[in-house]
């Protein structure tokens, strides 16, 4: 049996926000609400959810950047609340986007600086830095300033930076965000290779296919709560028996979408905005009965390409998070 590396029990985190320009009113935002899960050694665990679901807050607590308001979290057996000195040398944190690097320094200088902050011996630095640059395919651009790198190169440098201390646990917060499909694919290949090196990885993403492709298990988080936790195959079973009525609509008003959501027998309603039209997806277990209802609601509005298909993992996800992706 594999040992548990991350243990999260009833984790709660609240933030206080202020509203108003002159008379400021404080209000409490509950970002995490009794979240519990555990991650085993060598596992690639995914936290999947829409923006603002609580993914980044969870990662920030586990990486000792934030303190929990209530509940308990341990990493490698150490309490994040009071044992940050024991946790920090053994973990690292990589987030998506272009921030988090010194743009005016070269890629090599960035790695050297973070190696110093992780108290890596200079002999090890001399060996490890070129190895990491090679791993992420930046060896030939190592001495160029980061500001001259593409988004994908910066993200790969982030990965190298996150591996500088050879961490036992790696936290990846939406690492492929903003990357083109090729760059995202390359990055996913690197992440996959990390688990083959025995790293435990906690990945947050709001891309369903990414979690499906990479993760051993996925927790779907929504509004600060775990909505489902299973293997990708297990989550797909949530969509068993579910069908999706899909059609292209043109300028369908929001009140009609709300009206559809209230119809008995409809499990979920999702709308995707395209350039000239919208894709309306309606999850149901009784497509034969619901299809005429949908047509009746859409009566008077232009729609085409009306069809019924089997539900996918993404549909199961949308059902759980209420189409808020």
């Amino acid at each position: 049996m594999r040992d548990t590396v991350i243990e999260v029990e009833n984790l709660v985190r609240t933030f206080s926000g202020q509203r108003g320009l002159f008379r400021k009113n404080s209000r409490e935002i509950r970002a995490l609400d009794e979240v519990s899960f555990s991650v085993s050694r060598g596992e690639l665990f995914g936290l999947l959810g829409p923006n603002g679901a609580g993914k980044t807050t969870t990662v920030k607590i586990l990486t000792t950047l934030l303190l929990p308001t209530a509940g308990k979290a341990t990493v490698l057996g150490y309490d994040v609340n009071k044992a940050e000195d024991q946790i920090r040398p053994k973990i690292n944190f990589i987030f998506g986007g272009e921030r988090g690097l010194y743009w005016r320094l070269s890629g090599r200088d960035n790695l050297r600086y973070f190696a110093d902050l992780y108290r890596i011996d200079s002999r090890i630095q001399k060996r490890r830095i070129p190895e990491l640059l090679d791993l992420v395919g930046l060896l030939d651009r190592a001495d160029d300033r980061v500001e001259t790198y593409s988004k994908g190169m910066k993200q790969r440098l982030h990965i190298a930076r996150g591996l500088i201390n050879d961490p036992e646990v790696l936290f990846l917060d939406e690492p492929t965000i903003g990357l083109d499909p090729g760059g995202a694919r390359d990055l996913r290949a690197i992440i996959h290779a990390l688990t083959e090196r025995g790293k435990t990885v906690l990945l947050t993403t709001h891309y369903m296919f990414e979690a499906d492709e990479l993760c051993d298990r996925i927790a779907i988080i929504n509004r600060g709560r775990i909505a489902a936790l299973d293997t990708p195959a297990g989550l797909k079973r949530l969509a068993a028996g579910l069908s999706v009525i899909q059609t292209h609509v043109y300028g369908l008003p929001a009140e009609k979408i709300k009206e559809l959501g209230k119809c008995p027998g409809i499990e979920s309603v999702n709308i995707k905005n395209m350039d000239n039209y919208q894709i309306l997806e309606i999850g149901t277990t009784a497509p034969g009965e619901i299809a005429p209802v949908v047509m009746q609601v859409l009566n008077g509005f232009r729609f085409d390409d009306f069809r019924i298909r089997e539900a996918t993992l993404e549909d199961a996800y949308l059902k759980l998070v209420g189409g808020a992706a």
């Binding site: 000792t64 690097l101 010194y102 005016r104």
Partner: protein, 261 residues
């Protein structure tokens, strides 16, 4: 310990590299002293050589050093926050306070460089001989001044780490301090009721001490008293900075002020 020392040197190296690559900093170090020197030269050209030395040369050098140590040390935290690197350096095993002291050390070296550059620029452009009447006093005060300003830079950096709203404090520390501490003119010309305020500012004692070493006393106190007051400022700043860093490391994890979304 060895690892932390390497981290301080690494931070110092990074700090100097990134700072030198910023156009604004090049302006502050290379152009601004010439502008200050020219303005003060126009103001003081009718006065005696000693006053010119004490006000133009020192004033120019000190304003640049003040900006470099105190301003940059606090501004760097803001820059790191918006770059997304403040969170990363905060969760590194080397304590955040060590990293911040490394940054201040880098800024101090740059500040000293800009002060020497200012002295040389004034010497060359206006052909004013730089004569230090009491070199030992000068070295003593310069050493104490650097320590006091490093301590103040640490306090400022601490305030910035804890709060994103410290910019007002930072802005209040430039021209008002130059006026109140008598960088460009003696505080004697300020209204009497402002003098107690001036005496609460470390810069007043830095300027007063250095002028005394130039043979142009600007404060109604002996050299010994100036040294003692500066020593008190050093102890006070470092105690305050250490207290701030102790509470900051936990408070930032509660208040979530290390990053911006």
């Amino acid at each position: 310990m060895k690892g932390d020392l390497r981290a301080i040197v690494g931070t110092l190296r990074m700090q100097m590299k990134t700072t030198f690559s910023r156009a604004t900093f090049k302006f502050v170090v290379l152009v601004q002293p010439l502008v200050y020197a020219t303005i003060s030269y126009m103001m003081f050209r009718q006065s005696q050589n000693e006053s010119f030395m004490a006000y133009v040369v020192l004033g120019t050098g000190l304003t640049t050093m003040w900006s470099s140590i105190v301003f940059s040390s606090s501004g760097d935290i803001e820059r790191e926050r918006y770059n997304g690197t403040l969170e990363l350096i905060s969760i590194a095993p080397v304590p955040l306070r060590t990293t911040i002291y490394g940054k201040i050390a880098g800024n101090t070296l740059l500040g000293l460089f800009s002060m020497i550059y200012s002295f040389l620029a004034v010497r060359i452009i206006y052909n004013v001989p730089i004569v230090i009447a009491h070199p030992l006093q000068f070295v003593t005060i310069l050493f104490l001044s650097i320590l006091a300003l490093v301590g103040l830079g640490a306090v400022m950096a601490g305030c910035f780490t804890l709060s994103r709203n410290s910019r007002g404090l930072m802005n209040a520390l430039e021209y008002p301090v130059f006026i109140l501490s008598g960088v460009m003119f003696p505080i004697a010309v300020l209204p009497q009721w402002l003098h107690p305020v001036s005496y609460t500012l470390v810069m007043t004692w830095v300027v007063g001490g250095l002028r005394t070493s130039f043979g142009v006393p600007a404060l109604p106190f002996s050299f010994g008293i100036i040294v003692a007051v500066l020593a008190c400022f050093i102890v006070g700043h470092f105690l305050l900075a250490n207290w701030l860093f102790r509470i900051i490391e936990r408070q930032v994890r509660i208040k979530a002020t290390l990053g911006v979304q």
